[in-house]
Symmetry: C2
Subunit: 433 residues, 2 copies
């Protein structure tokens, strides 16, 4: 039996449009029906107007083939900390209830230009800046968290409500939901894509990322956003045979639960069996400082960036953000400079280590998605990579003891975004079956 | 004869309001009359609605004294790359003609919260990202540039059209107009004030700054924006006597014109005669790389941040920004990482050098404001300090051979913003007479 349109990856939808097998309108209707059926269980959307979606879809159908963009008609969900014309941007905060400044974020301008169908806004933890759960459930279990802060984007893509969605990562907000929901999630090199029009938590760390159900779709979106390496990645075509991987448990390994431990070992064995060179590496001396430096910079920047809202609407700000502004953390300016400079000094050092491998494999999450929707889980395995500005992709493929997804992350030096996706495709062919 | 309200510094206006010597409405009328008289010559405003200003002023007058903010009624101009509710934000680009997304930048939220009277939007070079002149003239000469990119803010404050104005600096866009127009201009430590709601050219360099006609007013605004050092600056009260200054010609000294050379020598002599310890320092080895690294990072970030507009409105973008996106500069990703990491490695090294002095004195500009309005002059003496993230304040006080102002910059290590202003007050008492 052939797939229904809502099951299509972005690339499959594009193919169907180009062969005239499907109109954007019918595709949109199929997705909207899927959402209607599933929304009570997953609740991934902060805003979605079926009429607006269908209007967009009909307008896209009218565009002559020669003038269609590279993402013509493909549905995309947008995390609700990213500004969109024609849709509210509410940051999961009563301060911005129904707020709709008519401005498109840089990423949204590029999506529209590529012909994307903007489906709606996906849920986020408040200002993408804490770990208090949203209304959204994991796509695989109604009482497990989808992760955060990009909760709705991760769950919606995993639940086949949309093939692509935007997220943002400051700690682990792209990779964690990808792992918990069993999909691909990609955080490109920091500052390789404009972050204009996203709420700011930390200038140094906030990074646009995105979700898909295939590496091919991540590549498609990367092209729309203009990602480019200095050297185009060479086609591999031989699986992982001969590729070289480092497995790095990281200084945070004491947080690893049984299902991460198993995935990590299985992932290693599977790559070895498929002909890859695999070695385990240890943390270089001093590397263990990065996690605490990330926290220090994060809190210091949170102090700066939430000050205006603290002044005007303190009673509506979550307590943890109030504490950022009130400097409850106790970090001095000197502390934050030491952390900022310390992280900066590690970026070229880490790149030099990572460039010896086709990719370094690191944990995505401590374990399966925890039970309950109140807390979005831990970013303990992600923060260091966010701080180092390196690209990271979550590859799904493992299952925990409760049959929930567990992913592993691949990372490379900065600005090897396309090379990373290229290697990720081969790794996925081993892990995802 | 007593001063007219339009001549007041912000602090003087506050005092008049608090003594009931003046209503905000009468103050606003005085400024609007000054603007009406002078606008044909200076043309500092991209947007200004007298009715809207008076309406704001009357609303401020109704606020009971006990509820007034620290900037109650004080007029502020806002550079037109900073988003403001109720006023268009046009970036000096036809792409954004009359565009008015209803969103306030972080700085504007804090200004409104403090009770400021938002007078209007001041002219900027296109997207604050090039050196093509605006309609605005220098406050002291109709055919000399006010500098850029914060052209209107610099000229309006110097011309007594507003006591305070916001600018932004990515190369030399705050300090240059301050020097050319003979006023105080302050670029605080990078990321010490939220930059949310400003157009992005470079995340690493873009910094909010501001203009005033006294150090006291810069301190007032710094307090509104929440600037704080780890240790509160100790009161000096003894002039510059015993203070220690380094005079640093920088590796860019070959660009110095005769009027800078004279100001530099005069500034040194005057401080010495007033009892300061002054020594001249040389560039530490390798410091000369910073300027070219700044250029490389700037162009690389310009590529990223102007890509959306390049895609949607290339024909309306200035040619130099088109070339950023088209990578005409030829910088690779590897080049930009070397530059980014190289600059980062210098920040703590430079701070360690600068902290031996109460301030390091460096040039603000090569010379007096050049003739003609077509080009806003050179940022050659500013870019390195922007890259190093250190606070910089321009002190006016010198005059060139054409009677045009020439200023000098004071700088300290990062996050000594208030200490810098504290020293600047004493230096100003020597230089500005």
């Amino acid at each position: 039996m052939s797939k229904a349109p809502w099951q299509f990856t972005a690339s499959e939808a594009l193919q169907a449009f180009s062969k005239d097998d499907l109109t954007v309108e019918d595709y949109a209707k199929s997705l909207l029906k899927r959402i209607e059926e599933r929304d009570d269980a997953v609740k991934a959307w902060a805003y979605l107007s079926p009429d607006q979606v269908l209007e967009q879809a009909r307008a896209l159908d009218k565009i002559p083939k020669a003038q269609r963009g590279p993402l013509h008609g493909v549905a995309v969900g947008v995390k609700d900390v990213i500004y969109t014309k024609g849709m509210p941007t509410q940051h999961n905060s009563p301060i911005y209830k129904d707020d709709q400044p008519e401005v498109d974020a840089a990423s949204v301008i590029m999506l529209r230009h590529a012909g994307a169908l903007l489906l709606g806004k996906t849920t986020t933890t408040t200002f993408a800046a804490n770990t208090v759960g949203t209304k959204t459930a994991n796509a695989h279990h109604p009482n497990r968290t989808p992760g955060g802060s990009s909760s709705g984007s991760g769950a919606a893509v995993a639940d086949f409500q949309v093939p692509l969605a935007l997220g943002t990562q400051t700690g682990g907000s792209v990779i964690r939901p990808a792992s918990f929901n069993g999909i691909y999630g990609f955080k490109p090199t920091w500052n390789a894509i404009s972050r204009e029009g996203q709420k700011i938590y930390s200038l140094d760390f906030d990074t646009l990322g995105y979700y898909a159900r295939s590496i091919e779709d991540l590549e498609l979106l990367s092209d729309v956003f203009g990602l480019k390496d200095d050297e185009p990645p060479t086609s591999i075509g031989n699986g992982v045979k001969g590729l070289k991987f480092a497995f790095f448990k990281t200084p945070q390994w004491s947080h690893a639960g049984p299902n991460l431990k198993k995935a990590f070992e299985d992932g290693k064995t599977q790559l070895q069996e498929a002909g890859a060179q695999v070695e385990e590496i240890d943390a270089p001396p001093g590397f263990e400082n990065l996690a605490k430096w990330h926290t220090c910079v994060l809190y210091s920047e949170g102090r700066v960036n939430f000050r205006p809202l603290y002044q005007t609407a303190k009673h509506l700000l979550p307590q943890d953000l109030v504490e950022h502004v009130e400097e409850k953390h106790g970090y001095t300016r000197k502390d934050s400079l030491e952390a900022f400079d310390g992280i900066a000094s590690w970026r070229p050092k880490w790149d030099a280590i990572a460039e010896k491998y086709d990719a370094v494999v690191v944990p995505s999450v401590p374990d399966e998605a925890p039970e309950g929707l109140g807390h979005t889980g831990s970013a303990v395995f992600n923060a260091v990579w966010t701080a180092l500005h390196v690209p990271v992709v979550n590859i799904p493929g493992f299952k925990g003891e409760h049959a929930m997804p567990v992913g592993l992350s691949l990372t490379t030096p900065r600005y090897r975004d396309l090379a990373l996706l290229n290697v990720a495709r081969e790794v996925a062919s081993v892990w995802v079956r």
